[in-house]
């Protein structure tokens, strides 16, 4: 029983990342009709916001410790971060410790900016072009972003640990009398994802801006005819989607250390998620994200892999095939979107 609930939790956690990326992808499909193959790269950029901040905070000055030697036998240079020098090791240390949550503050404006520049500078020239061209240009952009990150940060994964206070596990099953020790940060990630998803939905649901955007998603021309500058709003939506992907990336760092190709690892999966959810459907994307996350977790159990060898490797694709063959437009897809 405990194992069962643990896998549910794992599934929700994986699902959080899928859902967040898929949400952004769907926003872009829905509003702009653009297939964005660079979306995974945006997720990766977000994670590297955290890495960058961590690096910046750990910028150090060197003092020479004569008592110790380095690998070449020279006196050891001891590095002390400037923040520790300025604020003392206590406060300075805890600032560095909280680098990941702090980097959210940087990531939001940065990612929205990246999204804005991307849309204005590149994507907007591709609205009227075939989807194939959109794929090519965004894929090219993804490669470029990835290689730039690799150039500065290398190919190895880089640890971005959570703050010490959020390290470790907590038994969340205690009230139910279950033994459910689960990492705190993973809980944080799940709650964070739920918060973001809720935020995006209520933004679209309850603000006039959101209503116009939703109307535009349903029928762009008509809204345009009403004299509303829908393009500006869509640009903002692109920024928002980039922001969501970026935040998903920032917070993902402590779960698995970021590397430059993490975006590509998620890209294909999140496309599958979006399509299983149904093109153009935001709730569909979120639902499919969590559903596939949970299914993937259960397929990884020994029970599943001994029953059907290799099921853990193909489950997502298998489910995608079954869903698409039984529900032609995914779980909640709209008719006619991206079917041509």
């Amino acid at each position: 029983m405990d194992a069962f609930f643990l896998q549910i939790l794992n599934g929700l956690d994986k699902g959080s990342a899928y859902a967040l990326i898929a949400l952004g992808l769907t926003l872009i499909f829905g509003t702009l009709g653009v297939v964005n193959f660079a979306h995974g790269a945006l997720f990766m950029l977000g994670a590297f916001c955290a890495v960058t901040l961590q690096r910046l905070l750990s910028l150090s000055f060197e003092t020479i410790d004569e008592t110790k030697t380095d690998f070449l036998g020279n006196p050891l240079k001891v590095k002390t971060p400037y923040v520790e020098g300025w604020f003392g090791p206590e406060i300075g240390g805890s600032i560095i410790d909280w680098a990941v949550p702090l980097s959210i503050l940087i990531a939001i404006p940065f990612m929205i900016g990246v999204g804005y520049v991307m849309e204005r500078g590149l994507i907007k020239h591709f609205y009227k072009r075939p989807h194939a061209d959109q794929i090519l240009v965004t894929f090219g952009l993804a490669i470029v972003l990835q290689e730039v990150i690799k150039y500065f940060f290398g190919a190895n994964p880089i640890q971005t640990p959570p703050p010490d206070a959020l390290l470790g596990v907590v038994n969340i099953g205690a009230p139910l009398g279950l033994e459910l020790a689960y990492p705190i940060w993973r809980m944080v990630y799940f709650l964070f994802a739920v918060g973001i998803i809720g935020g995006v939905f209520s933004f679209l649901q309850f603000t006039t801006f959101g209503m116009v955007v939703r109307a535009g998603m349903a029928d762009r021309e008509t809204v345009g005819l009403l004299g509303i500058d829908i393009d500006r709003r869509f640009t903002f939506m692109f920024g928002l989607a980039a922001g969501v992907a970026g935040l998903a990336g920032v917070m993902y760092g402590p779960i698995n250390p970021p590397n430059y190709h993490m975006g590509m690892d998620f890209l294909v999966l999140s496309f599958v998620v979006v399509v299983v959810g149904g093109m153009g459907s935001l709730p569909g994307a979120v639902l499919a994200g969590f559903m596939l996350g949970i299914l993937e977790s259960f397929a990884s159990t020994t029970w599943a892999t001994t029953t059907i060898p290799g099921i853990n490797q193909i489950i997502i694709y298998l489910v995608a095939i079954i869903v698409l063959l039984t529900r032609p437009r995914g779980l909640m897809g709209r008719k006619g979107v991206m079917e041509d």
């Binding site: 194992a3 250390p257 259960f298």
Partner: protein, 449 residues
């Protein structure tokens, strides 16, 4: 038009039937049989085939640094590095057999196809007479097979699968790096000392050939000491999150987790395992332990804090205090500003060993070089006395058991050596069942045309 000069630089020439098979004016075909692997002119070209893109790009970059250093030393530049400590003294810094060493580089992308394409271009286009490098066993085996067919020598880089010198061994291929079996044999006694002989191990294994041979080796070695293998779960190579594999460990009754993962897989699975609080757990009245059989410093760096106190094995580490290691660390460190990785070490050594063998054989012909390497015993290269065994072209040397350092002094100071397992303890029969048994054979040495 200038004069027409017909030769066979023909690097991939194996059958005499070929030319005759096609009706061509005889003036266009040459009947002269030049030895392919006889580099013309005053230079000799080596091919360094390392991952430059993809997840192992950093490891590849370090290998490339080592190769450049080796070439510098062979050509008499720098401080000579291990040339000064190498037990064989035939290399004098004038290149190889008096020919200046040049090199070409390529990108394996850690894909067999791309690696073979890259190696082929080195052989066909640049006339490389030796190919070396790589950071995964799949690539090593693929390129080794290619070199066998093409008739050039392959000096493997980082490859840890038993198969490289086991069932896929080739007469033209040589491996200096250690392997899964050796890791198991070296680790088992140490694990017994540290954690006792009554342990229940849970294996997570990367689901491809290297993972399987590694798991098989470790399980066999630990079971021989009385450990019980509770479960072995195969994880897809493409996995990025291991939570759903780690969670079941908690309730499995196991008290040791063995992570048969490498690279990004290992970094993530270890991070996840630590996240789930495995290391703070007590099972069966014992502390829960995690073992990572194959360590590298670059991986340790990726794993960060999580590596502390974790035991594993490694081929070489820069903190070794023998003369060879010190000389290598010094020249590498002075050139690049940081200590070399084990991948860099094995690549450097392989290059020197090749150059030495050519010099001793006084020939570039692969079969002569192979003969010079077979059964060659040497020292001063960082791993103590080492034997290149003739039967399977595997080096036998001491294996290091290491542990993640609790209080690192610098960003490179991540591992400490727990024990140096002597070569005798990790030696096995050439026809060991894990290495292809009696069926495994090197085949015929291929000299090219």
């Amino acid at each position: 038009m200038t004069k027409m000069d017909l030769t066979r630089r023909g690097v991939l020439k194996t059958t005499a039937a070929a030319g005759a098979g096609l009706a061509l004016p005889t003036m266009f075909t040459s009947s002269a049989h030049a030895v392919t692997n006889d580099p013309m002119g005053g230079t000799v070209t080596l091919g360094f085939n390392v991952p430059q893109t993809g997840p192992y790009a950093d490891e590849g970059a370090d290998e490339l640094r080592a190769y450049e250093l080796a070439v510098e030393h062979l050509n008499g530049g720098g401080d000579g590095g291990m040339l000064n400590t190498f037990s064989s003294k035939v290399l004098d810094g004038t290149g190889i057999l008096g020919k200046k060493v040049e090199y070409v580089t390529g990108d394996t992308q850690t894909k067999s196809d791309a690696a073979r394409a890259s190696a082929k271009s080195m052989i066909e286009k640049d006339g490389a007479i030796m190919i070396t490098g790589g950071s995964s066993s799949g690539v090593a085996i693929a390129v080794q097979g290619l070199c066998q067919e093409a008739g050039v020598i392959f000096m493997a880089g980082l490859t840890h699968s038993n198969d490289t010198t086991g069932k896929d061994r080739k007469a033209n291929g040589f491996r200096h790096f250690f392997n899964g079996y050796m890791s198991g044999a070296a680790l088992a006694p140490v694990l017994k000392n540290l954690y006792g002989d009554d342990r229940k191990a849970y294996h997570l294994t990367a689901d491809y050939t290297w993972g399987w041979t590694q798991q098989e080796s470790i399980a066999a070695a630990t079971e021989a000491l009385g450990w019980e293998t509770v479960n072995n779960v195969l994880t897809p190579l493409a996995s990025t999150d291991f939570s759903s594999y780690i969670a079941p460990v908690l309730n499995s009754g196991a008290d040791v987790l063995v992570l048969n993962h490498y690279g990004g897989n290992m970094v993530n699975s270890l991070t996840n395992a630590v996240q789930f609080g495995l290391r703070e757990k007590e099972v069966n009245g014992k502390n829960f332990e995690i073992v990572v059989p194959l360590f590298s410093r670059l991986m340790a760096r990726g794993a960060g804090e999580n590596i502390k106190g974790i035991v594993g094995s490694t081929n070489w580490h820069w903190s070794l205090q023998d003369e060879g290691s010190k000389a290598f660390v010094k020249s590498f460190g002075e050139k690049y500003g940081f200590p070399p990785s084990q991948a860099a070490h094995t690549c450097y050594v392989q290059t020197l060993l090749y150059a030495d063998a050519v010099t001793r054989a006084n020939s570039f012909a692969p079969c002569d070089v192979a003969a010079a390497l077979e059964g060659f015993e040497f020292d001063g290269m960082g791993n103590g006395k080492t034997l290149y065994r003739a039967e399977d072209h595997q080096c036998f040397k001491d294996v290091l058991v290491v542990k993640g350092k609790e209080n690192p002094q610098s960003e490179f100071d991540l591992l400490e050596v727990v024990e140096v397992t002597p070569a005798a303890q990790v030696t096995y029969e050439p026809n060991h069942p894990m290495f292809g048994g009696d069926e495994a054979s090197l085949g015929e040495c291929n000299n090219g045309a």
